[in-house]
């Protein structure tokens, strides 16, 4: 199976926030939009942009982590936080240039979009997006 | 300034032969013991007096040399002066005796009776070194040179055969052959673990990589042990030679000698020996032209008993805090700076040259089946002759204590033998019933004690065994590194329990608690300090349980030691009212009318049981119950 890529086409976003709800439910936060790893922002009249982790190849969060808790999976290309190693220093939440690392104050942990790895392995936000603003592609396999 | 340097083995051998055949070798020797014990007794003054009365030209004229040597071992009787080759042995020498010694025994041929050692058994003075039981009953291997050489003089060491073993190893043996020699000798480490040195060396050799280290453990932290000190102070070259040979066998190019902070004289003598050996080409680049290079560095401790533990020692050498680490990965695989390392005790290294020179069969011919060779013991406590004793493995405790030891110090019921503590704070007590135990690594372990580094503390009936256990526990609590819970908290709590027993607050349940806690500490501790920590308590419980029970059930200390459980009282029909006790008492607990013996009394509540009154009373009128 080739690794997945989430494609975002903001011109199709209608600001319904179904993606946020889907994300929050998938990751077990019972629908609190604040717990979603996808945040849809309003940037103009009828203009919306869903912002979520770009799974950077040279991620700022990875480089900023003093314990090496964040790493990119070489096969899936997903950037992942090892919660057991993380010491909650918050460097990554500041370092991400796109603001995609979030801190959950209830559970006291950092989280980010993980393309629903371990929760069905298929991005739920894309499944629920009514306009296909969020869609999934298979990438070329890693050589 | 030493200008001799041996570029080849032959050059060394030629010089050694010349030395040994020279006039210097044939001269009479006046040996002034300057080991730490004798120095404390004023030996420096004695040595200076000899320097004054026997300056160099006079020495040459008389055909003798005056040497300041290391510790003879007979520390009780110092300062010591020995005249060789006759072997005249003078004890308790003071600077004022020196002119007479020079006139009568050095220039003249007489023996000064007043300075001779008196045999406690026969009551007669003994003139000769060889006739003194303390020395006659010893087999000195590791301590072979101490007391007979000037440790700061490398020629002295060579005169006694020093560095022959190194020359032999470098010229006629491969590193593998040297290793096989040590394996064949079945040399077990003298530091306490008793692990087979050959096996340790072999594991290190097998570990990969091209950097290996050898270390001499000179931390010697056991209270009452000073064997390693006298070797480092009195025969430093023996340690160096052993290390260089070991380095050669293991193909290591760097050795370390770790000396505890409290041994500055040892550091001084070792440093001097290293410089001299380096100057001669016996250490450093291309030793004796063999192509083998080896360096030795001295690393000093910071004053922690735990740094005698090998992994803690290595951390200390690395400049870190001396804390042990798990031994699941052996030091022979990853030790100092994560390189394969062999660590052995100073006494072990000092034995190596003998084995290489005389062959492994000579060594295995000494000792018992499972423990070959000899062992140096520091015999202290309630014996007449305290000091260092080296005997063959298999010698019995009775032979050691009543032979070279001279028997018990005090007379009467209280002076009788009660127990001997072996192995320091990691060891245990051996009672009278086991006095005929042949001493070796395994026999002592089998009876609940251990050889340890060789400490032997003899106790009589004035010793309380519960107090002994408490003392060793307090030592370990102080010295624990504190990293692991069982040792740090467990030994501390065990100390609380035993202290309460000494204070008369113990309960029968305490003995069960000690058992359970001991097992947890032994199983759970990270290093040997913790693991062996309960030993003094367990062994005293094993052989002297009745004493613990007396403390707990009867609130009584049979030995009359535990302050909370004893009372001092005046035996009025013996008292003559002299009032000496009243004056001696620092807390004013004694009252009485002068000259009226029947009025004297001790206030038990005010009395702090210091014993000053007992010490001053000439009538024996103070009783301790």
């Amino acid at each position: 199976m080739n690794p997945l890529r989430l494609v975002v086409q903001p011109q199709h976003c209608i600001g319904c926030r179904a993606c946020e709800l889907a994300c929050a439910f998938t990751h077990g936060a019972e629908g609190q939009p604040g717990a979603s790893r996808c945040r849809t922002l309003t940037v103009g009249k009828d203009e919306y942009v869903p912002v979520l982790c770009l799974q950077c190849d040279h991620a700022a969060c990875v480089q900023s982590c003093p314990t090496g808790a964040i790493s990119q999976d070489p096969v899936t290309k997903i950037v992942h936080v090892d919660q057991e190693v993380c010491v909650r220093c918050m460097a990554c939440t500041v370092a991400c240039p796109f603001g995609n690392m979030h801190f959950d104050p209830n559970g006291q942990f950092v989280h980010k979009c993980d393309l629903c790895a371990g929760h069905g392995d298929y991005p739920r936000c894309a499944m629920f997006c009514p306009t296909r603003c969020l869609s999934v592609e298979r990438m070329e396999p890693v050589s | 300034m030493d200008t001799v340097r041996y570029e080849t083995v032959d050059a060394f051998r030629d010089h050694a032969a010349a030395l040994r055949g020279s006039d210097l070798a044939r001269r009479r020797r006046v040996l002034v013991c300057c080991g730490t014990g004798c120095l404390a007794g004023g030996a420096r003054g004695v040595a200076e007096a000899f320097a004054e009365h026997l300056p160099d030209n006079k020495q040459t004229e008389l055909g003798l040399v005056v040497k300041r040597t290391g510790c003879h071992g007979f520390c009780e009787k110092g300062p010591l002066v020995v005249l060789m080759p006759r072997g005249t042995f003078y004890r308790g020498v003071k600077p004022k005796h020196v002119p007479e010694i020079v006139e009568r025994s050095v220039v003249g041929d007489e023996v000064i009776e007043e300075l001779l050692y008196v045999d406690p058994g026969t009551g007669k003075p003994v003139a000769g070194y060889g006739d003194i039981e303390f020395y006659a009953k010893q087999t000195r291997v590791a301590m072979r040179n101490i007391g007979l050489i000037d440790p700061a003089n490398i020629d002295d060491y060579m005169l006694r055969g020093g560095y022959d073993a190194l020359a032999r190893a470098l010229s006629t043996m491969s590193p593998e052959q040297v290793l096989q020699t040590i394996e064949a000798a079945k040399l077990r480490g003298r530091g306490g673990g008793g692990f087979d040195a050959g096996r340790k060396w072999r594991s290190c050799k097998r570990a990969g990589g091209d950097v290996r280290y050898v270390i001499a453990n000179g931390d010697e932290g056991d209270p009452g042990a000073f064997m390693d000190r006298s070797i480092m102070e009195g025969d430093p070259h023996a340690v160096l030679e052993g290390l260089i040979i070991g380095g050669y066998a293991l193909e290591s190019s760097q050795g370390y000698i770790y000396v505890r902070q409290e041994y500055p004289l040892a550091v001084e003598h070792l440093q001097r020996a290293i410089e001299d050996a380096r100057g001669r080409g016996l250490l450093g680049e291309n030793i004796l032209g063999s192509g083998y290079s080896f360096e030795i560095e001295i690393s000093r401790g910071g004053g922690a008993f735990v740094c005698g533990e090998s992994s803690a020692l290595m951390r200390s050498v690395e400049g870190k805090v001396g804390e042990p680490r798990a031994k699941y990965i052996h030091a022979t695989d990853k030790g100092l700076w994560d390189r394969p390392t062999v660590l052995n005790n100073v006494e072990t290294w000092a034995t190596v040259p003998c084995i290489v020179e005389k062959g492994p069969e000579w060594f295995t011919g000494l000792g018992t089946e499972r423990s070959k060779g000899t062992k140096a013991f520091s015999l202290v406590g309630k014996v007449k002759n305290t000091g260092l004793v080296e005997v063959e493995m298999g010698t019995t405790l009775r032979q050691i204590i009543f032979g070279p030891g001279g028997g018990m110090l005090d007379t009467g019921e209280r002076g009788k033998f009660k127990a001997v503590q072996t192995g320091g704070p990691s060891g245990g007590c051996v009672p009278e019933s086991l006095l005929d135990l042949p001493v070796d690594f395994d026999t002592l372990t089998e009876v609940g004690s251990m050889m340890g580094s060789g400490g032997m503390i003899v106790m009589d009936h004035s010793t309380c065994m519960v107090d002994v256990a408490r003392y060793f526990l307090s030592f370990l609590v102080d010295e624990s590194c504190g990293k692991c819970v069982p040792c740090r908290e467990g030994l501390f709590q065990m100390y609380q329990i035993v202290s309460r027993i000494c204070e008369g607050k113990g309960t029968p349940a305490d003995l069960d608690k000690i058992d359970d806690l001991s097992q947890a500490i032994i199983l759970g501790s990270l290093c040997a300090l913790g693991k062996s920590g309960p030993n003094p308590v367990l062994s005293t419980l094993q052989y002297f349980r009745h004493e613990y029970e007396a403390h707990i059930n009867e609130k009584r200390c049979p030995a009359g030691v535990c302050k909370a459980l004893i009372t001092y009282s005046v035996v009025n029909d013996r008292c003559d009212g002299c009032g000496a006790c009243l004056s001696a008492c620092a807390v004013g607990a004694i009252m009485g009318t002068p000259k009226k013996g029947d009025t004297f009394k001790i206030d038990a509540l005010a009395c702090d049981r210091c014993g000053a009154c007992v010490a001053v009373c000439k009538r024996g009128a103070i009783a301790v119950a």
Binding site: Q9, P10, Q11, L41, V43, E47, Y48, V49, V51, Q63, S64, C65, P66, T67, A69, D82, E84, C86, V87, R88, C89, A91, T93, V94, A95, P97, F98, G99, N100, M101, H102, F103 | G208, V306, V321, A326, Y328, I329, K334, V477, D478, E479, S480, C481, G482, K483, C484, V485, P486, R488, E489, G490, Q493, Q496, Q519, A520, I521, L523, G524, L526
Partner: protein, 278 residues
């Protein structure tokens, strides 16, 4: 170091056959297989230490001919053919005593009380410490500070006097206020406070970084930002804005690009106009 033997192999834990790899510790294997072994001084962010002794397990091997040893799982290397018991009588004796001893040291710690109760200890049978705090001397704080921060705190003194301390007992000069120590402390002994722009811990006060755009405090201190730039080799601009502002910025940029997409343009209209004018 030479590693003999296969690189993956099998061990037996509590009668179950499990796979393990060279370089792992027994504790890694138990965790991976859902086998519970209690720990207090273990944390994946730092090297194992072996100080609490709770993860003790009974180990044997055929070559040992029946001899069993108690080893700490966190530091014992996984090896081919190991047979491990995680709940034998000896193991429980050690754990029970360790927890009993820790309860004497920290009688008020909820974490220790709970763990001790699991081994049948509801009150300590030893002499409790006077004026106890919650520090069990697991060393996690000092180790994480050394690994992930500036080694500002360390252990001082020896044996029963051992404490987690700072240079000369004062506020640690090297502390950056990252709170890693507080977050790894298993008993909650290390506390901190945050009010407005200030964070205080270990007797020191730190100023929180502020967002260059909106001025709100960031969740890292200024010292921490400087440290991260140095240590992680990153430009200070990475640590100068809050996540909300970053997100807004990225959303606006993406929004603009989406607008061009909708208009069928290759780039921003104003720019295009300039091109034409030239």
């Amino acid at each position: 170091m030479e590693q003999t033997g296969p690189s993956t192999f099998y061990m037996t834990i509590n009668g179950r056959r499990v796979q393990a790899s060279a370089g792992e510790y027994v504790l890694d294997v138990t965790r991976r297989n859902g086998i519970h072994v209690p720990t207090l001084c273990h944390h994946p962010a730092v090297e194992p230490f072996g100080s609490c002794r709770l993860c003790m397990v009974e180990v044997t091997k055929e070559a040992w001919k029946g001899w069993k040893g108690l080893m700490t799982a966190c530091l014992y290397p996984a090896a081919d053919g190991l047979v491990i018991e995680t709940d034998s009588e000896s193991v429980h004796r050690v754990r029970r005593n360790v927890l009993d001893l820790l309860l004497a040291r920290c009688p008020d710690s909820g974490v220790i009380q709970k763990l001790a109760a699991e081994y049948g200890v509801t009150r300590t049978t030893f002499t409790p410490r006077e004026n106890p705090d919650l520090c069990i001397l697991c060393g996690l704080c000092t180790r994480v500070c050394e690994t992930a921060a500036t080694a500002a705190i360390t252990t001082a003194m020896r044996g029963h006097e051992r404490v987690v301390g700072t240079p000369w007992g004062g506020p640690p000069p090297d502390c950056i206020g990252c709170l890693a120590c507080a977050h790894v402390c298993p008993t909650g002994h290390i506390t901190f406070e945050e009010h407005g722009l200030t964070r205080s811990i270990w007797g020191r006060e730190f100023e929180l970084e502020r967002c260059a755009d909106c001025g709100k405090p960031l969740p890292i201190t200024r010292d921490q930002a400087a440290f991260l730039c140095r240590r992680q080799e990153m430009d200070p601009s990475y640590f100068s804005r809050c996540a909300d502002c970053q997100r807004k910025m990225v959303a606006e940029r993406m929004g603009r690009m989406a607008r061009w997409q909708t208009l069928g343009l290759a780039q921003e209209p104003a720019e295009r106009g300039k091109e034409v004018a030239r």
